[in-house]
């Protein structure tokens, strides 16, 4: 990063008893970007956020937040940080409005009254209700209003939109976009892929306490495979032997296969050499991308980064197939007859695979 990093985490470890919650996690968030923080449940997202907030102390590794130590400088740093947890709990005898103002004062400054009023309006929040009288979504709104009404430099949002209806989800996206335009940094942990796609400049995907992928969405897409089906004039000589080509099926003049996106150029050249009559190419969906990273065991982490990654991921897909009891096709995923995306999407079961398609 050329720009100063708002968050920089290297080799973070944290264990709770025998459970290794974080196992060498890396995370780098540049100042002014909206950074998606993704991973399956239990991957360590919330643990990382708690370390960043100085609520937990890491066992080893370094974490820097806005240039400071999140544990030692917690109070000072928190003046510049706003946090929205995924499950907001309120005091039963305090109204939502009281909580918003309390949070504002606890950050040191007072809230911008006009901004607060505008946000309450936009989120359609009734600030006079108390504690448990709020529904889940409305409790989230209380924390969201408090966070967006603050002048914090860094917003840490841990699945902030759980329970929000689609209209409020839109309002939330608008607020994040405004925050980015105002030059603030946002760390957004989310499972809502459309939200991530719409908002995030870069994403980090973690699994089992480790970062498995990090980059812009375009970069991540680049690491995945494109489905290609083509009708050829002649036989597709040598196609199956090209690097980055998988799951080739040939029916007469028709050919279907998967190609690593960064090898597309060479693959297309090989196709045109045989004479292309028709061509359909389907780029990988975001869902495929995430499912590829979400499934799998802790050991199968070779998939992270670089050209090697594809092979690693392929092998990993096979391993996954075995685990799911589909040993036959999984073991030789590359030439399995019915294959299409089965090797790619690697669902834990058929339905997940189908979803990925």
């Amino acid at each position: 990063m050329t720009k100063a990093e708002a968050i920089s985490v290297v080799g973070l470890h944290k264990a709770f008893g025998r459970t290794r919650a974080l196992d060498g996690l890396d995370l780098s968030v540049a100042t002014g970007e909206v950074h998606g923080f993704l991973g399956p449940n239990g991957a360590g997202k919330s643990t990382t956020i708690r370390v960043l907030l100085g609520l937990l102390r890491a066992d080893s590794g370094t974490a820097r937040l806005l240039g400071g130590d999140p544990w030692a400088d917690a109070v000072g740093l928190h003046r510049r940080v706003a946090y929205v947890p995924g499950d907001v709990t309120l005091w039963r005898n305090l109204s939502g409005g009281e909580v918003i103002d309390l949070y504002g004062r606890l950050r040191g400054g007072s809230l911008d009254r006009a901004r607060r009023a505008e946000l309450v309006e936009r989120f359609e929040l009734d600030p006079t209700k108390k504690g448990r009288a709020y529904s889940k979504g409305n409790r989230q709104k209380v924390a969201l209003v408090a966070a967006f009404a603050s002048d914090a430099d860094l917003l840490i949002l841990d699945e902030p939109t759980s329970g929000l209806d689609p209209l409020m989800e839109e309002v939330f996206r608008g607020c994040v976009a405004e925050a980015r335009d105002a030059g603030r940094t946002v760390l957004l942990s989310s499972h809502i892929l459309s939200e991530v796609e719409a908002l995030c400049d870069r994403v980090s995907i973690i699994r089992a306490g480790r970062t498995v992928e990090s980059g812009t969405l375009a970069e991540l897409r680049h690491l995945t495979r494109t489905s290609i089906s083509a009708e050829l004039a002649g036989p597709p000589d040598g196609l199956a032997d090209l690097p980055g080509v998988h799951d080739v099926q040939i029916h007469g003049g028709k050919v279907r296969f998967q190609a690593d996106t960064d090898q597309l150029d060479a693959v297309l050249r090989a196709l045109t050499a045989s004479g292309v009559r028709s061509l359909t190419s389907t780029p990988p969906t975001l869902e495929e991308l995430f499912l590829r990273h979400y499934t799998g065991t802790a050991q199968a982490d070779e998939g992270s980064g670089g050209g090697e990654g594809h092979e690693g991921s392929g092998a990993h897909a096979a391993g996954e197939g075995d685990a799911a009891g589909e040993g036959d096709e999984g073991g030789e995923g590359d030439e399995a007859g019915e294959g299409g995306e089965a090797g790619e999407a690697k669902g834990r079961d058929e339905s997940t695979g189908a979803n990925a398609r």
Partner: protein, 527 residues
């Protein structure tokens, strides 16, 4: 009706599973306390003649009657019923109210009931399961007392066992009503505990006024009925019907209310709050969260002080030629005038009860943390010490406030002028170092091992048991010394105030608090 109770058996099993530690411990502790009494009393009063003298001395003294009730029989069994009957009933009552509220209102407040009610669970099943769990626990207490005291006379043992179990069940149904009325579990427990406290004060006032416990005030209190059963003293079995009637009436009310309201809703509904808040920080927040409970404790201490202060003059009526009785009173209270000794004993009692307040107040920290309300606060520019400091200020300052009010009540009730009142306030405030030490232990437990923090209740309970029952039982001094209250000077009445133990205990409290806060600062917040 059958549909309304669907799922009761499953819910009862769930309740028993969740209470698998607390309930047996409580049941055993309560019944052991009663069952061990004949032995302990036998070592204090060795002959029948000694027991007879002691009994007549006790009965002649209105202030002792106020505390323990009249003695109806001077056998070991009779003295056991006198000494431990009401105390065991109070313990059974506390257990019952905790169990009932825990499985009714608390389930609704946390939202867990919604999930259960969506299954095949009838509208009245949760209440039924909670009451059955409480009934089961109380029956066990009754059974153990009956079995354990059978050697003193089977009928008396049965009567005492039934009386204690009956009183506990009455409190259980009172808690069931409270759980329908309030929206929060904390408030429901508070209401039920206030009912229990009022029952004790009524009984004490009635016993103080009338020698044979025949005052109308005693009859108005379920704890008074425990005496009126007269276990080991010519049992009056029909008094047990009072327990049954009260259980039936309160139970019917609770069921009627439960059938008429929505899940999670209450009859004392909350009002909307302000749209904008003025809370300026964590200190103000802690005050806001705890002020209701502090107000309740303050009122309770003032009223209890007034009632007990009004009884103090009667202490002079003591037939003073029983050395053992005098010894007991002196060990409990003080050396000089017996009304002073009585006031000192009452100040000590208020101090012991204040230990319960300080523990509940300190443990708010743990409730805030485990309820995940601390986490977002500490994600703001708030240090852990500042956050904890707000609650500790209420806990430690609040104990001073309620003790001062208790002392004020004692002095006003005694009505012997300003100097006497100041003395009573001072006597109560002298309890503070011990109360603070218990509170500081709670801070240390919370700081070092938040999951074990509720053990602070056991600390306060042990101090309470030692202080209440210990002096009459010749508990070894080494054991008595474990309670910080043992080291306090007996005030009013001491010729000179021993400042050293006060200073040492205060220092100890400060050191424990500091250690607890240091560990809190350096540990992970529990997610």
């Amino acid at each position: 009706m059958k549909r309304q109770l669907a799922g009761t058996a499953a819910l009862l099993r769930l309740a028993l599973r969740r209470d698998r530690v607390m309930m047996p411990v409580w049941v055993l502790a309560t019944s052991l306390l009663v069952v061990s009494m004949p032995n302990a009393l036998g070592s204090v009063y060795e002959t029948a003649a000694e027991r007879a003298t002691a009994a007549s001395a006790m009965n002649a003294n209105s202030s002792l009657r106020a505390l323990y009730g009249p003695v109806f029989a001077d056998s070991l069994g009779g003295l056991t019923a006198w000494r431990a009957g009401v105390f065991a009933a109070v313990l059974a009552g506390i257990m019952s109210l905790v169990v009932v509220v825990r499985h009714t209102r608390e389930e609704e407040e946390t939202g867990r009931q919604e999930l259960l009610s969506a299954a095949m669970v009838g509208r009245r099943a949760p209440l039924t399961a909670a009451l059955l769990a409480a009934l089961l626990a109380n029956s066990l207490v009754g059974l153990l007392i009956t079995a354990g005291l059978a050697g003193q006379g089977a009928t008396g043992a049965l009567a005492l066992g039934l009386a204690v179990a009956g009183a506990g069940t009455v409190v259980a149904t009172a808690a069931a009503v409270a759980a329908q009325l309030t929206e929060s579990a904390r408030a429901a427990k508070g209401v039920a505990a206030a009912v229990l406290g009022a029952a004790f004060v009524l009984k004490a006032a009635g016993d103080s006024g009338a020698a044979a416990g025949e005052s109308a005030l005693t009859w108005a209190s379920p704890l008074g009925w425990v005496e009126h059963v007269r276990a080991f003293g010519g049992e009056r079995w029909w008094v047990l019907a009072l327990f049954a009637a009260a259980v039936a009436a309160q139970g019917a009310l609770a069921y009627a209310l439960a059938g008429r309201r929505d899940v999670g809703m209450s009859f004392l509904a909350g009002r909307p709050g302000p749209a904008e808040g003025r809370l300026g920080g964590t200190g103000a927040l802690a005050w806001r969260l705890q002020r209701g409970s502090l107000l309740g404790w303050s009122a309770g201490f003032l009223i209890a002080g007034l009632v007990f202060g009004g009884m103090a003059e009667g202490a002079a009526d003591l037939v003073g030629d029983n050395a053992k009785t005098r010894e007991i009173i002196e060990r409990m209270g003080g050396r000089s005038a017996l009304s002073d000794a009585f006031l000192a004993a009452m100040a000590g009692m208020l101090g012991l009860v204040a230990a319960l307040f300080v523990v509940s107040s300190v443990l708010r920290l743990q409730a805030e943390e485990s309820g995940q309300r601390a986490e977002p606060l500490l994600a703001h520019a708030v240090g852990r010490l500042r956050w904890a400091g707000g609650h500790l200020a209420v806990a430690f300052g609040g104990s001073a406030l309620i003790l001062a009010l208790g002392g004020l009540g004692l002095g006003l009730g005694h009505g012997q002028g300003a100097a006497d009142t100041a003395g009573a306030v001072g006597a109560c405030l002298a309890q503070l170092p011990a109360v603070w030490t218990i509170g500081a232990l709670a801070v240390l437990l919370y700081g070092a091992a938040p999951r074990l923090a509720p053990a602070a209740w056991a600390v306060a309970g042990t101090a309470l048991a030692l202080g209440w029952v210990g002096p009459a039982l010749n508990v070894p001094q080494a054991v008595m010394d474990l309670s910080p209250f043992t080291h306090l000077p007996k005030l009013p009445g001491a010729t000179e105030i021993a400042w050293t133990p006060l200073a040492l205990l205060t220092t100890l409290a400060a050191a424990l608090t500091a250690t607890g806060l240091t560990t809190l600062r350096h540990r992970d917040l529990t997610p």
